[in-house]
Symmetry: C2
Subunit: 357 residues, 2 copies
């Protein structure tokens, strides 16, 4: 098999990814044999290059210090693969990085599992890998192991990606959905629902053009600064599928508390607000991929908020509510409406926007 | 949503898996909302139950000691989902357990990512989870995090699973594909090609009935005993996709050596031998899912072999060759045939048996 190098532009950056001669994925790329090795050597190794991966063994090997480790995984099946603000590659790395970071861990090593559809253009794969590389570099994680499977045309919608990752939790840090305290302020790091509506629009399902990008971003850098600013952060979680409503209900249930939200404080991009009004969606149910919900003791709330607002990914951060009381029997989330009435905010039921991440 | 408990038989064992009322997977199970939570609480938690997973956070958290950690991932897209000797669930856990074990690591924590097809019967998922639970228990690993996505009917052939895992490597252990030494004996832990031919037969692609089971098995227990028996094991690797031929070529290349195999020593189940003769396959290219290739210093070879033969998963272990010389320019694998001639054994090219794991 001969090789060539294709250069292409992606999001303004020119990068050169050597491609194997075959310009589409074929079943042989999943054989585990020579073609798999060529794909790994020519597409994956140059982008994810590091000494751990480079050893070429069945597992990546690295040193760890004594302590507490966090480990998480996230699979991605988003359609379309590319959308304003991101793609399945950036989503996949951010998903796991953020799941580790919200536990207070420093994300460090990830693994990548691809399921590729026969016929997938090699350039599409190269673009996705390039995104993964970019987000991995930004978030400071190394790809230490990977796996590639190929399925027949008609399956997998191009590709699926599952990323797993690990990171160490600094001594003394104890952040969990179980730790919400009465009096905690609830902060959201920016506008709600951008990812879900951006993907919906990219599918053409909105029927109108919107000027909106997905918020997909690795949040570990901002989170590290927040943890420097306060040691009274009790809970962090990223409100992905199911949105803010579902995530807050999970936390309310885990901690056995009532959470009250102020409707007038909820930050929405005008395009999300408009789409929700037209489609009858509740923005609190729409997925985010670059936002966190943070529960912090009231006395540190302004300090943490200021830290977030100073960061690129938290410039629109705002306090949206508070923990009002213990509620051992299960926890609940209530919304104080613009009219001053209260309504229960429920977890998302059923499926509103399939294949959103 | 109401719940019920369904009992069923699976591989002779009666197990009770509480199922959500919906008897098939629907898109809502991937929403991240209430239906996802029900699926997790009713199908995943009871089977994978442990304190780490039970915390219900975005990542599993556990203590680690200072040292070297191995991390690996493996995706599985096998068709059919169930075959004699195993299923996609046992494959998925064994794949990662074995990838860690062959590095000398003690597999400990795994994550599980599911991609489920809309319409998948809940009982099918329950059977797969039951297999995963059984293999996890046998191999001593805990599921510490998971993710579930649902894709529309027509994708994903029922389900795909990606497992990642970590384990610590005991101090002083240094096993790698880079470490093959001239004089090393090459041991295979049993008959070659059972998995690939068993799956092919289960698909009905052989045209004849065969009395053969997949060899899928977690090998960490046997490997631990082997490492107790000798500190001169230089290389271990499981010859999965691409078979013994591909794995040995990888090792020959990494270590820069020539490996010579004795054709008459290669152990085959009669059904595999027969299928290869009929179909014109080379058994050295057929996938195994419960076998390892071990390179050990000649003086310890019999000791390691005896240890393997005393173990359920190594009873047919045999020495199939040796490392004959350094070969810095790339490494190669040669086969001494029954006629006394030599032929080059190449890596698998193209795709012989798609969707085998």
């Amino acid at each position: 098999m001969t090789e060539k190098t294709n250069s292409y532009d992606f999001e303004g950056a020119t990068c050169a990814v050597p491609l194997v001669h075959d310009e589409k994925i074929v079943m042989g790329h999943g054989s585990g044999g020579r073609m798999s090795l060529d794909l790994i050597r020519n597409a994956f190794y140059p982008s994810f290059k590091n000494d751990i991966l480079g050893a070429g063994d069945d597992a990546g090997v690295f040193d760890v210090a004594q302590g507490r480790m966090a480990m998480s995984t996230d699979g991605h099946v988003v359609a379309p693969l590319f959308f304003p603000g991101g793609d399945i590659g950036s989503l996949a790395v951010c998903g796991t990085v953020n799941d580790l970071a919200v536990m207070g861990a420093v994300p460090r090593y990830i693994t990548v599992g691809f399921v590729l559809e026969e016929g997938l253009p090699m350039q599409t794969l190269a673009k996705v890998i390039d995104s993964m590389k970019r987000v991995a570099a930004e978030s400071g994680v190394q790809v230490v192991a990977g796996d590639t499977k190929v399925v027949q045309k008609g399956n997998a919608d191009g590709l699926y990606i599952t990323v797993a990752g690990v990171g160490m939790i600094p001594a003394g840090v104890n952040i969990s959905g179980n730790n919400a305290q009465v009096g905690d302020a609830v902060i959201v790091s920016g506008t709600i629902g951008d990812h879900g509506i951006a993907v919906l629009a990219a599918r053409g399902d909105l029927g109108v053009e919107v000027d909106l990008e997905s918020d997909v971003a690795p949040l570990n850098g901002m989170i590290a600064e927040m943890m420097q600013a306060s040691n009274q952060i009790h809970v962090m979680r990223d409100p992905t599928r199911g949105g803010v409503a579902t995530t807050l209900n999970e936390i309310a249930g885990q901690s056995g508390v009532t959470i009250e939200l102020d409707q007038e404080a909820l930050p929405y991009h005008p395009a999300v607000q408009g789409a929700c009004e037209i489609l009858g969606f509740d923005g609190l149910n729409i997925a985010n991929e670059g936002k966190i919900l943070t529960f912090v003791a009231q006395e540190d709330a302004e300090k943490v908020l200021a830290t977030m607002r100073a960061h690129e990914y938290g410039k629109d951060a705002t306090i949206i509510g508070r923990v009002t009381e213990k509620n051992e029997k299960g926890g609940r989330v209530v919304l104080k409406t613009l009219l001053g009435t209260h309504r229960i905010v429920e977890m998302l039921r059923g499926e509103m926007l399939p294949r959103i991440c």
